[in-house]
């Protein structure tokens, strides 16, 4: 009798299906099914190709978009930032010369690279997908092995459609139970990072499971997978299911009709086998998770909205004590301050973490008929893509936001990274739905608090953080 196939994790299945060549004690050559490119990390890669006389092997599997530095204001106006303009022009030229499809800033399909990949159905289950951007982990929500790479690797994929990779360890993250009202996908992932720390997943590919994850929409699953990298895991995945298939059906690059049915049959095999072993397992209970707010300068410095800013002395490790002290100094916070007493200057709802239609609906529902607090200097809504923007406008969400005192912008990375004009000024404090609260992330000396879209919306109305669970709002999903 032949030996039975050992049970495999989802990650192992996708890996095995993409090995072009593997020799003992050497990293494998792994095939890359989809390559996404943006203006920020690609010019040097194309220049490198050119210098070596190489060409793009599979322009048909490569997609480019302008997102990092694009203005979110009127795009018919000339681009003022000359460096950004040169990068846009370089991307245009590189795509034209190599035959790569480009969604430029005037395209109807333009948006943040990790938003439009899934939205257009470029991202599909079981694929390998890479991009020169660490939040490529987002696409793992489809049961896709997706991870960020550096520019040298971008060049490598352009030239060979492959990457040289070693197998990662596997990390199973289970969130059991039912998500309580007001607890969003963002709260789940921030709580996970709070538990494992920002390097807890280093060297691992995460797979998320448990009732609280499985019951999330695709938008929610993308939020969770997006921030895998903030927990150190280069990739994070959710096994595809009916929710996934329903999302994908009919999207631009997804097979149709009989081909779609065949694809679904293949995709249904993409799950971790019973008895497959993970290198590490982490478990949380959804019922115990409160709305999360970061207080420090990395996403692991996070706590529940009902808690207080921690005391550096409460940490055992000396390095953690020093880091906390430094973070509180940077953030202009005093230990012991209740989170709900922290005032906010600006609110940003956007980024590849939280700018999808579910996020905008939830935030709009919360602010409908109310108005941004007088102390708020700016409240920005930046849809993740022009597709989402159009959908939101069809539903009248733009009007709700405008009436409530929010600015309704065009799609892009915007204030998450502040490469365009959307910058958080020095010493100002934001409630932001983005993914990183690093020093200077949203602007030099700016102070970022990461929260969910409903928490950001509530902070805009109140002028400080509030526990959304205390609000009389029927749906704060």
């Amino acid at each position: 009798m032949p030996p039975e196939n050992p049970p495999k994790t989802l990650y192992q299945k996708i890996w095995d299906a993409h090995v072009v060549r593997e020799t003992p004690a050497q990293p494998a050559i792994l095939y890359i099914d989809r390559h996404l490119v943006h203006e920020g990390t690609s010019p040097q890669a194309f220049a490198g190709l050119r210098a070596e006389g190489r060409t793009v092997r599979r322009p048909d599997l490569t997609f480019a978009v302008m997102d990092h530095s694009v203005p979110t204001t009127d795009r018919t106006l000339p681009i003022i930032d000359q460096d950004a303009k040169l990068q846009f022009e370089a991307l245009e030229k590189n795509c034209r010369e190599s035959g790569v499809r480009l969604f430029d800033m005037h395209s109807k399909q333009q948006g943040i690279v990790h938003i439009i990949g899934p939205e257009l159905g470029i991202t599909q289950p079981g694929q390998t997908l890479v991009c020169g951007d660490s939040h490529t982990s987002t696409h793992g929500a489809f049961g896709t092995l997706a991870f960020g790479i550096g520019t040298s690797e971008v060049e490598h994929v352009l030239a060979t459609q492959c990457l040289v990779q070693s197998r990662s360890k596997t990390l199973h993250i289970l969130v059991h139970g039912k998500r309580p009202r007001g607890i969003t996908a963002k709260d789940l992932i921030l709580a996970i990072i709070g538990k494992i720390g920002i390097s807890g997943g280093t060297g691992h590919v995460a797979e998320y499971g448990g009732e609280a994850i499985r019951s999330l929409s695709m938008d929610g699953r993308m939020t969770v997978c997006n921030m895998s990298i903030e927990g150190g895991a280069r990739a994070g995945m959710v096994a595809p299911d009916e929710t996934t298939f329903a999302y994908l059906e009919g999207r631009a690059f997804v097979p149709r009709g009989k081909s779609f049915q065949e694809a679904v049959q293949r995709w249904k095999l993409l799950k971790t086998d019973d008895g497959a072993k993970f290198d590490m397992t982490v478990e949380l209970q959804a019922e115990q998770i409160a709305p999360q707010v970061t207080w420090g300068t990395n996403p692991g410095m996070v706590t529940g909205v009902t808690d207080r800013v921690p005391d550096p002395g409460s940490f055992r490790d000396l390095n953690d004590q020093k880091a906390t002290e430094r973070a509180l100094h940077y953030m202009g916070l005093k230990a012991g301050t209740p989170i709900v007493d922290i005032p906010v200057d600006r609110v940003f709802i956007g980024s590849c973490t939280n700018s999808r239609i579910d996020d905008l609906r939830a935030a709009a529902h919360l602010v409908a008929g109310k108005h941004v607090a007088r102390s708020i200097k700016q409240a920005l809504i930046v849809p993740g893509s022009r597709g989402i923007k159009a959908q939101a406008e069809k539903e009248g969400l733009d009007k709700i936001f405008r009436d409530a005192g929010f600015e309704w912008r065009d799609a892009g990375c915007s204030m998450c990274i502040g490469m365009n004009a959307d910058v958080l000024p020095p010493h100002e404090r934001s409630a932001s739905t983005s993914n990183r609260n690093f020093e200077g992330r949203q602007g030099r000396d700016s102070r970022t608090h990461l929260v969910s879209p409903v928490m950001a919306a509530a902070a805009a109305i109140a002028g400080h953080f509030v526990d959304v669970r205390s609000l009389d709002v029927s749906t704060i999903e």
């Binding site: 399909q109 660490s134 550096g150 490598h156 690093f438």
Partner: protein
């Protein structure tokens, strides 16, 4: 790529955990078209006061650490963004070696593409090196990649681990792409056998598609 075998140089200590790549090269410098010149702006916000005046309280500006080529760091060095501008900056500034207890995955990987050795030692060994660097002005370390050792002039020798294939890449200064392209027939064969994943399915003309 410039090969790496052995290196001796002055040590600069960066006594912070979780140094992210946003700190090494802030966003405003990501609009470049080349890989050059990032040394001048390495650790920009920490290193310069507004108006680009050197911040005298940041370690990189201490006179005693000028000319350093070994960067001594703490755990989870290089976390966050995948920007390769970070190792470009590290290299362009003049660092050839980083020594830390641990690194974030993408940064670690990017170092090898740029001829930088990211060596790993235990927390205790790193602590010892921080103390020695603090105590002795001009403290320097010798790094021997073939022997996998880090040593000083006072008899300290630490052995470090590195995956053999990674070591080879640095020692030979290998061009990854060239190596992969030697297996081009394997790639072509894979594409033939896996048409489902290696083919783009264009269901509709995307120009007329509204998501």
């Amino acid at each position: 790529m410039q090969p790496f075998s052995t290196h001796t140089g002055k040590v600069m200590p960066l006594d912070r955990v979780n140094v992210d790549t946003d700190q090494m090269v802030p966003k405003q410098f990501l609009k470049a078209l080349t890989r050059d010149g990032f040394g001048r702006i390495l650790f920009y916000d920490w290193r310069y006061l507004p108006g680009e005046k050197p911040n005298p309280s940041f370690v990189l500006n201490f006179p005693r650490y000028q000319g350093a080529s070994v960067l001594l760091a703490r755990a989870n060095f290089g976390c966050g963004s995948s920007r390769e501008h970070a190792p470009w900056g590290v290299k362009d500034y003049g660092f050839r070696v980083i020594i830390a207890p641990s690194y974030a995955d993408i940064f670690y990987n990017n170092c090898f593409k740029n001829g930088i050795l990211p060596a790993e030692l235990s927390e205790e060994q790193i602590e010892e090196l921080f103390q020695r660097t603090e105590k002795e002005e001009g403290y320097s370390l010798s790094v021997d990649l073939p022997a996998q050792t880090i040593s000083d002039n006072h008899g300290l020798i630490y052995k470090f681990e590195i995956v053999p294939s990674r070591k080879e890449v640095l020692l030979k200064g290998l061009d990854d792409i060239g190596t992969t392209l030697q297996h081009e027939p394997d790639i072509t064969a894979y594409e033939k056998n896996h048409a489902a994943s290696a083919t783009m399915f264009d269901a509709v003309d995307v120009k007329y598609y509204t998501p």
